[in-house]
């Protein structure tokens, strides 16, 4: 009797008890389904985090002016303007791993079109900022270096501001925007960027040249840069190096002796992203371990039913032996039965897992990423479960004595 005939005999035996066969596989279906769904969703969440951080800009470092320490009480970041315009120039020119560096001075204030007004974040910056942040224009033109040099009263708007002030789908380029009653010419609209990983709406912003910001909106201390510096490193690998080099440069420029805290802080968004990713990964691992446990439970379910089946079919086994089945053929038959159950369960589990992942992904608006290797592993594992947990019942069947088996009531 060849393998194909054995499989057909096994399938026929399983078909004689359809409901029970299905219930037996249910454990495997749920186990495999859960593994596939959790991994798909976990990968989706990871992709979502990556996407969110990528939208903030790649290879990004944010330098904030330092905390003041007065009598042991720490002020927040920016409580003391410690960064100077010369620091910015030094970072741009002296640090090799830095590609671009741009200042960002910002404040929340009221802005107004002819008809509407809206409170938003107004930033003074330079063209490099948009490059560092990977932020293309949707309409009009971006800020130019000559805008900065001449202190031109021009503004680039985020999509949310456009919607609030000029209405959705409108083109405000060429219109006038008043910031603190100072008229600015709208020259462009930035592409929609969505939310930051912490939920800030990137598109709720107005950008103007730093020079115009300082002269018309909020004059600062002459030498001090009362905002943040955005730095784009040359590559992902260079980000960490840039962070160290900038720190060293700024400590040197600020004459900080060893043992004194930095009077600035550098945020490495790449590291934040990988920390977040690590978090999702841990969660995915945890969930899929739980799912793997349910696979194990499913395997025990198969063993249980196969043992019942061997007992119930003792006479059948006796008869098969009487008409010439060798113990090995009985062993293989029962092994193939449990293998068929578990593999079938595995295949159904894949379907269930994919459907579940798809549903959850569309409900939570997450991307869903199918990992083919996980599918292969899940099916392989369920097959293994079938063999491992089928072996004992099958051995018991094969070890039966035909005389006793035929007499079994």
């Amino acid at each position: 009797m060849n393998l194909w005939q054995t499989i057909r005999v096994a399938v026929r035996a399983l078909r004689r008890n359809k409901l029970r066969s299905f219930l037996t596989t249910l454990g495997i279906i749920i186990g495999v389904g859960a593994v596939i769904a959790t991994v798909a969703i976990g990968e989706g969440a990871k992709a979502k985090v990556q996407e969110a951080f990528a939208s903030m800009g790649s290879n990004l470092l944010i330098i904030m002016p330092g905390t003041s320490v007065a009598g042991g009480a720490h002020g927040g970041f920016g409580s003391m303007p410690t960064l100077t315009w010369d620091d910015l120039k030094a970072i741009q020119s002296e640090v090799a791993s830095v590609e671009l560096a741009a200042p960002l001075l910002f404040s929340n204030m009221q802005v107004a079109s002819e008809e509407q007004n809206w409170s938003t974040r107004v930033s003074g910056t330079t063209p490099d900022y948009f490059t560092i942040r990977n932020w293309p224009m949707a309409k009009g033109r971006p800020l130019s270096q000559s805008d900065v040099d001449t202190g031109a009263k021009v503004a680039v708007l985020g999509q949310t501001v456009v919607d609030k002030l000029y209405g959705p789908n409108s083109d405000p380029v060429g219109q006038t925007l008043r910031i603190k009653s100072v008229p600015f010419l709208v020259i462009g609209v930035m592409a929609k960027k969505g939310q930051s990983p912490v939920g800030t709406d990137y598109d709720d912003a107005v950008s103007i040249p730093t020079t115009a910001y300082l002269s018309k909106i909020q004059g600062g201390l002459k030498n001090y840069l009362s905002g943040m510096i955005f730095v784009g490193a040359r590559s992902l690998e260079a980000t960490r190096r840039a962070e160290i080099e900038i720190a060293a440069l700024l400590r040197d420029r600020h004459h900080l002796q060893g043992g004194i805290d930095d009077d600035f802080s550098i945020r490495n968004l790449t590291e934040m992203a990988s920390a977040q990713e690590q978090g999702t990964k841990t969660l995915t691992t945890l969930l899929s371990s739980i799912a793997a446990v349910s696979l194990l439970v499913g395997g025990i379910g198969i063993m249980n039913i196969m043992l019942v089946s061997v007992t119930e079919r003792t006479r059948e086994i006796g008869l098969r032996m009487a008409v010439g089945a060798k113990p090995r053929q009985i062993l293989i038959q029962f092994l193939v039965e449990s293998l068929t159950l578990s593999t079938l369960g595995g295949l159904l589990g894949i379907a269930a897992g994919l459907v579940t992942a798809q549903r959850l992904a569309s409900t939570f608006d997450w991307p869903m990423l199918i990992r083919p290797d996980v599918i292969v592993i899940a099916v392989g594992f369920s097959g293994l479960v079938g063999v491992v947990f089928g072996l004992y019942p099958a051995t018991r069947a094969a070890a039966l004595d035909p005389i006793d088996a035929l007499r079994y009531e």
Partner: protein, 242 residues
């Protein structure tokens, strides 16, 4: 000197029942030739079932020798015995032992499955065997759709399909009414004419009357071994009609 189909020489079979040693067969010697129709009789505990199991290669003797078709089979392995049962023997049981929810045809095919025959040959031979027991029109019926007599005939077809030299029947009429029993005995008698040896275990003397030889067993020994004029079983209408 050529041996008979079955030759038992001083066959002893002991069982352990817990700590107690039970001697089921206490040295049985007998010869059965091809085409004989032998009834083994005895009360329960006489050793007749043990004798049947040994002759049927389901069990091995504790001592003594058993030649089947001239070859000694008393010390063969489980696999070798399975092979012999598959190729040379056919079994008929009191409770039919048909696979439930499996068609008559597939039940009859079962021994051929373990011979490794391809599907179409299996079906062909199983069909022929069912026709031989006059069940050609019931091939797709499930056991629970057949009467007791029909079920036993399916079982006989299953015993015949491998073209055995020897058919062993253990109380084959025990679950049948007397009229159907005669049908089945007629079938067994007809096999002898084709050179198939039938060994039948029964405790009913009116069933044993259809055999050409009766062996009575008691306390693990052959008590009586006599040839007789077999009563002819009248083929009942039910069999010829179907």
């Amino acid at each position: 000197m050529p041996r008979e189909l079955i030759e038992l020489e001083q066959v002893v079979k002991n069982y352990h029942m817990g700590d107690v040693l039970v001697q089921a067969l206490a040295g049985v010697s007998l010869k059965i030739s091809s085409g004989e129709f032998v009834a083994i009789m005895g009360s329960s505990g006489s050793g007749k079932s043990t004798l049947m199991n040994l002759v049927g290669c389901l069990d091995r003797p504790t001592s003594g020798r058993y030649f089947l078709g001239g070859n000694e089979v008393s010390q063969l392995s489980r696999d070798q015995l399975a092979e012999i049962r598959n190729r040379q023997l056919g079994f008929v049981f009191q409770n039919f032992n048909l696979l439930a929810r499996t068609s008559a045809l597939e039940n009859v095919e079962l021994p051929l499955l373990y011979q490794g025959l391809p599907t179409n040959q299996r079906a062909e031979r199983a069909r022929a065997a069912l026709e031989r027991v006059a069940l050609g029109d019931r091939m797709d019926h499930l056991p629970n759709q057949l009467s007791g007599g029909q079920q036993q005939r399916v079982a006989i077809a299953r015993a015949l399909v491998g073209e055995p030299k020897l058919i062993l029947a253990d109380e084959p009429t025990g679950n049948l009414d007397s009229k159907t029993s005669v049908d089945v005995m007629a079938l067994f008698q007809s096999l002898g004419k084709n050179g198939i040896t039938v060994v039948l275990v029964t405790h009913e003397s009116d069933i044993a009357a259809f055999a050409s030889r009766v062996i009575e067993v008691r306390d693990g020994r052959v008590l009586v071994d006599r040839k007789q004029q077999a009563q002819r079983a009248q083929q009942a209408e039910s069999l010829s009609a179907t």
